[in-house]
Symmetry: D2
Subunit: 261 residues, 4 copies
């Protein structure tokens, strides 16, 4: 049962599951989890890339011939830092793809709308393929699209919370009006959350904590793989309508049937 | 990635997805949807079984060599009718497995606790393998287990509503204390609902409307197959904890790193 | 702004808030909380009533000239024990009103459907005004009504959980089809939960833990009083419809207006 | 039972319920609903104010000696239009208080983060008391506070949707870190929604559709008045904790007690 492929910036991706590389207990576990998940696009923080060309233990386990890298700017606090980080990442990793994350507040890691839009405009000019991580803010997502973002990455719930699609009412609007792919990016804590995101028409999801912090990250990677496929297939198959009226379809009692036997 | 098999009454089932046979547009569509879903256990209403040994159009499409039949008593209004229907089903279909459904009210099709417990006791005595469909009532589920039910089938939401796991708080108690398999039976409207049921530790789910009433029932059958596998695998892999505190794990700002480059 | 009164078994009650008497730090705090809540109907466990005619410290604070007592059978495990407890309560407290609670399981305190229906039938015969505490089970509530219950008391969430209206989908059905008052009885943790119960058409709510375990039980009693009045008034005023389409009503831009100034 | 007063920009408000003036069937109904609600702060769109000093039918019913006016810029699409509208409102209505609303999209009326921050900075310089309507975006709310906003007005759900506190996870963060009052501004559809907003620590709520579109707007205004008082009182009284473990506090069975009687 095939589903339609995802295309971002002209690149076709078979998997609609993007993975983060943080919080794994070891590079080997990360590597196996990535393989089990079927992910093709993998994000990593610039601070994990050593500027001498080396990497930390975990990153050295990442077979860059198998995955498309999506460096992220996690840890930067404004557009200026983001642009510097982006240039360093492009040089060090040889890719112009960038997950743009700007969060001035280290406590909740919430994204900064204003700086993100500014940075997106500049980075697009500089030739980056920009995927900005933002609030589930429909106006901002539209502005990012107009600024040339290759996709938008609205959050589902506070990062690391595993709460799921808390922003559903806004994601629906974003999905309805977006002309670039919509990737739900934070707070997805279970395979069913990922499936629900795809079911509502999101183009992809990015997952990290829920897999890395699972008791068995490799099995959880495989579970998310299946869930994302299930959700997309469900979306394409056309979900049946919900009913809040509480009335079931009446069936005729078996009484007369039983009496006639 | 293998998950543990489900065993009901000594029978091992590879699939944790059970399917209904109502509401399909044709027998051919039903047949293909069943195949795509990977279901092994299939339920059908007794009233669809002709007592002359024949069947209606849809039932005649069901290859009974491929599926384990789970006749249900949908349409009966009390224990007495249920027992009569059960005996007829056993004779007509050659199986002692039974999904016991008793709903005196034709409007909401809500199950009757009292009659269901009475009928379960009698049917167990008569040698049936009884899977009763009931409210998500922890005390009743325990009583049914003590009465010899082979599994319990609490509902997730009103039948046909597609609302999902509305009874979650009670299903958690039922799952925690049950010694027989727990099969969530009504109201599951999307693949993600099914995944969520398995993630919380339900042993299986029964789905009908969500697949039969989908725009593409065959693809939806396949979507539910994946979702159920995803949910079970996620459950076995050990979900990461939810956080409602709203605080992310702090990361060190990139500022000093960027300054040092 | 007056709302319609509640009538149970021919008795008119001005307040739609019923209170429990458990878990208070002292009799004085309980007494003040009751006064602040405006409750008229107050429930207490039989085990707190001394059979020598005396009471424990807390119960002795209860001015029985101000409140209508609703003794409950909390702690009994079956119909037989419930009937014995009911008779003792009637004798000790001089009222034939009874909140019938039967929970065989001391861990979750979930009600027993079968024993509750049996006891209701017998207690009605014996002249009691029976208000049974049950699952949000629409068929059972109808059976209790037919058995002569003066009201039904379906639970909103597991007792003591403070989770709110987890059983909403089923309460809606119960309210739609009940001819006796529907009192939501467990799990209401905040004033807004109580307001929501009344808004959906419940006739009253019973609250205990949420008030008794608040930092300031007296103020919380007053808060629940207001919330219950708000919810009932909102119900009678006719709530505006929800919209899930996400589209606001378009307004004409001010642009031309501003240009014309 | 008194609750603490709300202070915005040095002005003490007795009521934590702010009302809009749109969608009423007549000026008389609006006027009565305002009175019943106890609101002191009332918002109205600039476009309803005639520049010749007159007003439309509805606005002429508004007794400006009783209410503090909060003109809003509904209908403007960017900061430039907002500033022009603000100046006109100040001149026409004689108040420097302003609810800043900028929504470029006429379909969903979602606020524009970037233009709202720009306009806030400029309007504060010009001596306005600015209350900006924004997404439930914690970073943006902090930036608005730093820009001199007198309060922040994050939305609860899409405007006019009556869905309630869909943004709860983000509102909690905003409330935790804000040093100016937090007023929840859109999507509150029932008295219980308003109560829940206050219970979680919001300083006030703004309601329009839910009252104006009720079957009986005057009674609904009174219902919201009670609900807001209930929610605030509940917040100050200290809500009891929720439990998701499902276990009730065990009670000792009455069995031995009954046996001993």
């Amino acid at each position: 049962m095939k589903t339609s492929p995802l295309v971002i910036a002209g690149v076709t991706l078979r998997s609609r599951l993007f993975l983060g590389t943080g919080k794994y207990s070891s590079g080997a576990v990360m590597s196996e989890s990535l393989a089990a998940s079927g992910a093709e696009l993998v994000t990593m923080a610039l601070r994990r890339v050593r500027t001498d060309g080396g990497h930390d233990d975990i990153m050295s386990q990442l077979d860059t011939t198998k995955y498309r890298l999506l460096p992220n700017t996690s840890g930067v606090r404004d557009a200026k830092e983001a642009i510097l980080a982006a240039e360093l990442a492009r040089e060090a990793l040889g890719t112009n793809w960038l997950k743009l994350e700007i969060h001035p507040d280290p406590k909740y890691l919430m994204p900064d709308a204003i700086e993100t839009l500014l940075a997106t405009r500049e980075l697009v000019k500089r030739g980056f393929v920009v995927l900005p991580y933002v609030h589930a803010d429909p106006v901002l997502c539209k502005q990012l699209e107009e600024a040339g973002a290759a996709a938008v990455m609205p959050l589902g719930a506070p990062i690391g919370s595993n709460l799921g699609l808390e922003t559903r009412a806004f994601l629906e609007i974003i999905i309805a009006q977006s002309r670039v792919p919509v990737v739900i990016d934070a707070g997805l804590g279970t395979p069913s959350h990922a499936a629900a995101a795809l079911e509502m028409g999101a183009d992809a999801v990015l997952v990290n904590t829920a897999i890395a912090a699972a008791a068995d990250p490799v099995a959880m990677g495989a579970a998310f793989k299946l869930a994302v496929e299930a959700g997309r297939l469900g979306f394409e198959a056309g979900l049946a309508a919900r009913s809040t009226k509480g009335e079931a379809h009446a069936t005729s009692p078996l009484t007369s049937f039983l009496a006639s036997v």
